[in-house]
Every structure is written in C-alpha cells, then in structure tokens.
C-alpha cells in the first residue's frame, strides 16, 4: 500500500515593507505552524527569523524603497518549516558580515539580524548572489 503523503501547506506572497502586510503574513504563517503542531517556542523562533529576513531584504536589498517588493514563500509540513525571502537587490557576501558578538563589535548598534536568523533556524543559506535566503526550521524530535 502506498504511503500517505505528508500534509503540506505552501504559500508564496510578495510584500512591500508595510507593517500591516508583514503582520498579516506573520499571522498566516503562525496559523499554519500552529495547525501543524509546532510549539510556541518554535513559533517564536520562526517569527523572529522571518522578521529579520524581511527587514534585511527591505533595508539592504531594496535600499528602503517601499515601492519595491520582498518576495516571501514558505511551506509547512509536520517535520519542517521552509521559508525563502528574496529582494530586488544585487546581493551581498554573507561572510563579509562581522561577528556582532566579538568584543570590538558588541556595542555597535547594528548587524545582528543574520546572526539571529542563524541562531533560531536550523539551516540558513544565502543563495548567490545573496539576494535570496532559504531558512529551514526542523521540528525537534520528541
């Protein structure tokens, strides 16, 4: 007998960096995550990572131009949440971002977004030339 395919919800949207649009997107993703049985801690992690990714895309990729869009897609299964965020910029080298936790950078006000994305999602990959990021959160085994 064929194995039953895992339930999967997938979405793809384009948002301008307007708070209401981002909140609406966050609410929809939170609903998907909750329905798939993820914990509150997982929801916190995913929300934070998506927030940072969209802000980075808007601020650095689209240079704060609210007429430009940030493309967001995600899929949710019982085992993992995959999110992709891309912008209209020329990309960047993620290895060029200084470590914000080193002593000399600790009191610099900016530069923590990517670090938080990496800390809260299991897998974060910037796709060359760096204007698209793919983040994967894997549900911890019980």
């Amino acid at each position: 007998m064929a194995e039953k395919p895992a339930k999967r919800s997938a979405h793809s949207v384009a948002v301008h960096y307007v708070r209401d649009e981002l909140e609406s997107l966050q609410a929809e993703l939170a609903q998907n995550i909750s329905s798939a049985g993820y914990s509150e801690a997982a929801a916190f992690s995913i929300r934070l990572a998506l927030e940072e990714a969209v802000i980075n895309a808007h601020k650095h990729g689209n240079h704060g131009d609210t007429s430009k869009i940030v493309a967001v897609s995600w899929s949710v299964t019982a085992d993992e949440v995959v999110i992709e965020v891309s912008d209209g910029g020329g990309g960047f080298d993620p290895h060029s971002v200084p470590d914000p936790t080193s002593d000399e950078n600790l009191e610099i006000p900016s530069g923590r977004g990517i670090m938080l994305m990496r800390a809260y999602m299991g897998d974060v990959t910037f796709v060359a030339p760096g204007n698209r990021v793919r983040m994967v959160y894997r549900k911890p085994s019980e």
Binding site: R19, E51, P100, T101, L106, E107, P109, R112, L116
Partner: protein, 119 residues
C-alpha cells in the same frame, strides 16, 4: 504622574527614570526610532541619568530594537549614569544571551529590584 506617549510610559523624578513599553511587539522600524528618540530625549534632560527599562509587556523584539537599546546604553554611560533592564521574558532573554548583549546590559528580574539597585 505618568507621561503617556503612543509607545512608552515614562515615570520618575530626580534622575531615576522608569520606562515601560506600551506595545507587546517592538518590531516596527518607525516605532523603534520613535522609542529611541523619546528615551534619549529623557536621558538628555537628566544630569546623571539612572534608568530602568521594563519589558513587562514585551513579547517580541527585533535586532533593530536591540540596536536602540545599545544606543541608549551608550548615552547613559556618556553622562556617567546607569541603566538597568528588567522583566524580560525567558524567550526574549534568550535573544540577549545569543547576541551576548547580556554581557553589556545589567539585567534585573523585576523593575522594583532594578529601581532599588539604583536608589
């Protein structure tokens, strides 16, 4: 008497200032800029500011909010003052620990404990 703004409640006298957030989420860039300007304005008005920022209501904050707190901390230190953060939920405290900002901020369990430490 509390000074009610759209984003903050600021109370206190004689250089001992208590700040609370109205919003649960400190995420929006424009709001964060406004919050920073309000707190920095109050610090500027004090000779030797002693400031407690309570996160009692706060559920989420972004890296931009952390950046503003760093700027506030620098402004307080520049005037030989002291800053305390308090009432931080475990999930948010984890953000401070991951970024190692718990090394530069003095974090107290409650605003009352923070106020006592500055009295």
């Amino acid at each position: 008497m509390a000074k009610e703004t759209s984003r903050l409640r600021i109370t206190g006298t004689d250089g001992l200032v208590r700040v609370e957030f109205v919003d649960r989420d400190i995420l929006d860039e424009a709001n964060i800029r406004q919050i920073g300007a309000e707190i920095l304005g109050r610090i500027e008005a004090e000779t030797k500011p002693r400031v407690v920022i309570s996160f009692h209501n706060v559920e989420h904050l972004s890296s931009a909010a952390l950046g503003t707190l760093i700027t506030v901390n620098s402004a307080v230190k520049k005037k030989a003052g002291e800053l305390r953060l308090s009432d931080i939920r475990p999930s948010t405290l984890e953000v401070f620990k991951i970024t190692k900002l718990d090394r530069i901020f003095h974090i107290c369990d409650t605003a009352e404990a923070a106020m006592r430490s500055l009295a």
